[in-house]
Symmetry: C2
Subunit: 521 residues, 2 copies
């Protein structure tokens, strides 16, 4: 009943694989056929492994996977400082934290990212479930809420996500990168949680001291209403929206050209859009547009505009309006947004690794504008996609673009004279003479047991110079020096590395003295 | 030249795949054949996708991948407490930290885990490099050292690793789980860094208050020497070693049976091994064995025994000998150990989730004994496997079995009356009357800007009762209540949730008062 087809044929080499005409007939018993295919694939792969697999093709290279990087201790120190500012802010706002596995069932991610789904990393089918690495933290969060029937939570989640994107690592774009997400789920009064998300962006960007910034806000309903009143056909909303999203990287002329030439929009509609997307302002602009003859014809747009007004009221109370702009050109790529959207950009010149971001062609849909360091919005439908009964849980959230912030902070650390310490050691236990290993180990044990951060060199007879050098290099502020005389006198010579000042401190007072001298550090 | 073989054949269904006899002849032109196989595999998979792939087989299930779990906020709070103790200890000992990507080139992991390699998760070949999820943190660490030509470092690394093992989740065994590794790399005087690793295990297990524990130590050289003098053939060392490794889960009779019946060891050799592996002690045992007629014939064993003696000298100075036992039955599975090995076990009864661990058959090679919560050893050859010139970097390290510790701590938290807080909120800004949203937002802004952890309900007119209930539930100690009268008087009513005591505090003094009242928390 099936046509016979050969995979590897003697003599003639590889025969064409006549799959297409077969597919229709195969549909009648997919279960059996799929099982057969799986079995054959497994056999072929086993054969491949037996004959040496891909080994013949390349040599072993000592490297990390493309688009990924190790963090060395200095980078980790910077990373920890950034995380501590961000987590401090999330905690100040009362957020809990959760964690989810690095991979999800493939189906969990299916249909959530539109075209970008091609960037998802799949795990090899090794038997069992089909799995994919998480692409963001939002979809796992929605899955978590639906699975545990949670209807309200304020949580942050800091973890790595994975995208098979074109890496541009010098500019902070990786295939493995951190996301720092803060989200508020629950049925609340309009715009209060949304405003808190913007307050959080404001606090974090101020706290990290990254220079001046702006937070652009818009609303999906305003965009959709605008498209409707400008005469964009319903089925072109999404594609025109993603063209508008390019306005931060292209001039209007090019965006217009793409709308008209590639997306087939009429010139009149494009020009009307052009008039709107050039508008920026605050609460006043929202009021003006509510009076706008054309815009006010869209109920959706009016709902969005009223919410923008309400949002600004709350932002005033939160004292953050100096940085927030209502910007009709802000679109954001992801499909799941349903209301307010926002994006924070650094406006200061001289932030080199970020300001060249736009050049390298084909940015991912969600990859954000020049200097963009945070973004988010309201997504009231996503949790419902996972609930068997489609029950919705309204959500709003923000994601901090931490990799770019790392890049900037690392650059700053490089540029500054201040040395980044990678350990917190307070004191080095050293000796000037030979054969004092036991005495050094005894003293360092005393210090450790008292909670002092201390080190000792792993040598029987280290040179005093190399012990002091280690302190200089790693920024250890104090050295506790033992010698025959000190042992006899029951003291330790405490040396301040920076000033080279030395004092004898009695053994009994040593711990307090170290604490006192390092308490401000 | 190749036999013709059909993958799917008409009528007759699936024909046997005669791969084995082909492999030898295929070796002559592996490049072409591999390319052909790849192409055929791709076609078959495409066919599978066209006929609906695996979709027909199952319905969408709302779950995490097998062997993985989400951490809810309570579990995260426990996890953070455990991490903070562990990281505190690592930092006290002057360790830096690094991070590596979650996946490595497949080749980086190849040949490092012996039989356990089958448990490695591979990523799907989506074009580009072949990748695998990390199996532990040790191999990526060795790769990192070789790649960056680092010859000495003391670092910790806390991250998730992945094994396609049989999960036993109630007992803390997962497919995605944390490892907490501390390693010292560098050429140092014998046993000093090794002793510090044991000191660290001691400090962490004491600090976490998990009940009594023992740290067993042994040395690979002693094991190998013992096998040699007992008459184990050279080529059986590894396999006999892995049988000895089962002594913590099986009685000696069963281990002996496996050695003799399955591994083909002579009964005499087995009995001689049996005499040695029953020995436990301290420095005295090492001294006794150095005098042992048979054991002292092995140079390797003598080197190991001398180092055990030296180790105990240092452990005495570190004040940890009360928990350390020299145990000749300790073997540990991993191939890469070259010297000292150790393992910590909880000895207290009633640690239910751990003490039943052994029952569920087929533990992975590295999966450790009943109640084992830490393990490690010296591996002087691993970094050299990555260095193009084979340059060795001696390493010793320890891995804390954090998932079991989480399980125990979660159980303890459940059992105790004390509630686990999942946020750190100090004060809730509430109102007793309607229409005070603006005033609440203004006050919470003041508090946030002063660094106070504060919350406000996202409702225009929440009920006072529901605001107070939220405080009770999430352990918020204070409520700042606003009302018309308070606003008029320029005060805030500060309520202590636990005692229900209420005092009026002037607006100007509020921040200091909140700080004062929550400073001990």
């Amino acid at each position: 009943m099936l046509g016979m087809f050969c995979v590897l044929c003697s003599g003639s080499g590889l025969m064409g694989f006549r799959a297409a005409p077969l597919v229709r007939s195969l549909h009648s018993f997919p279960g059996i056929i799929v099982a057969q295919i799986d079995e054959e694939v497994a056999k072929l792969l086993e054969l491949k492994a037996q004959i040496g697999g891909d080994n013949g093709k390349h040599q072993f290279v000592l490297k990390t996977a493309k688009g990924t990087r190790d963090y060395n201790p200095k980078q980790m120190a910077v990373r920890e400082r950034v995380f501590s500012t961000i987590i401090g802010c999330f905690k100040r706002h009362g957020a809990e934290t959760i964690d989810t596995p690095v991979f999800e069932l493939k189906e969990t991610l299916t249909g959530k990212y539109g075209e970008d789904s091609k960037l998802i990393y799949d795990l090899k089918d090794q038997g069992g479930e089909l799995l994919s690495l998480r692409y963001d933290l939002t979809v796992p969060f929605a899955r978590y809420l639906a699975m545990n029937k949670i209807t309200n939570i304020k949580r942050y989640h800091i973890a790595k996500v994975y995208r098979r994107d074109n890496p541009a690592m010098t500019r902070g774009r990786y295939r493995e990168f951190y996301q720092c997400d803060f989200d508020i789920a629950g049925q609340y009064d309009a715009m209060i949680p949304d405003a808190e998300c913007l307050k959080i962006v404001y606090e974090i960007l101020s706290g990290l001291d990254l220079g001046d910034f702006r937070i652009k806000v818009n609303d999906r309903r305003i965009l959709d209403g605008m498209f409707a009143v400008c005469g964009v056909p319903d089925d072109k909303f999404r594609t025109i929206c993603s063209t508008v999203d390019k306005l931060d990287k292209m001039p209007w002329e090019d965006v217009r050209k793409e709308m008209v030439n590639e997306k087939g929009l009429s010139e009149e509609a494009a020009d009307q859009i052009g008039d709107y997307v050039s508008l920026q302002g605050g609460m006043d602009l929202a009021e003006r547009l509510l009076q706008d003859q054309k815009m006010s014809r869209s109920k959706q747009a009016c709902a969005g505009l009223s919410d923008i007004k309400l949002l600004f009221t709350y932002l005033q109370l939160f004292q953050v309006t100096d940085k927030v702009v209502f910007d009709l050109s802000l679109a954001r790529g992801l499909d799941y947004y349903t209301g307010i959207i926002y994006e924070a950009v650094l406006t200061q010149a001289g932030v080199a690794p970020v300001s060249t971001e736009a050049q390298n062609g084909a940015p991912a849909e969600e990859s954000v504008s020049v200097g963009s360091v945070a973004g988010g919005g309201r997504y009231d439908g996503l949790v419902g996609m996972f609930d068997p009964k489609g029950r919705k849980v309204p959500c709003v959230g923000v994601s901090i673009g931490i990799e770019r912030i790392f890049s900037i902070m690392e650059q700053k650390a490089e540029a500054s004279a201040e040395k980044v310490r990678t350990t917190e050691v307070q004191v080095m236990v050293a000796s000037a003479q030979k054969n004092l290993l036991e005495e050094r180990l005894q003293l360092v044990t005393e210090l450790w047991n008292a909670g002092i951060k201390a080190e000792v060199m792993y040598k029987k007879n280290p040179k005093l110079l190399s012990q002091l050098q280690h302190c200089e290099e790693s920024g250890i502020p104090l050295v506790a020096i033992l010698g025959e005389q000190e042992l006899k006198d029951g003291v330790v010579k405490l040396r301040v590395v920076a000033s080279r000042e030395e004092v004898d401190v009695s053994r009994a007072a040593l711990i307090e003295e170290i604490r006192r001298r390092t308490s401000e550090a």
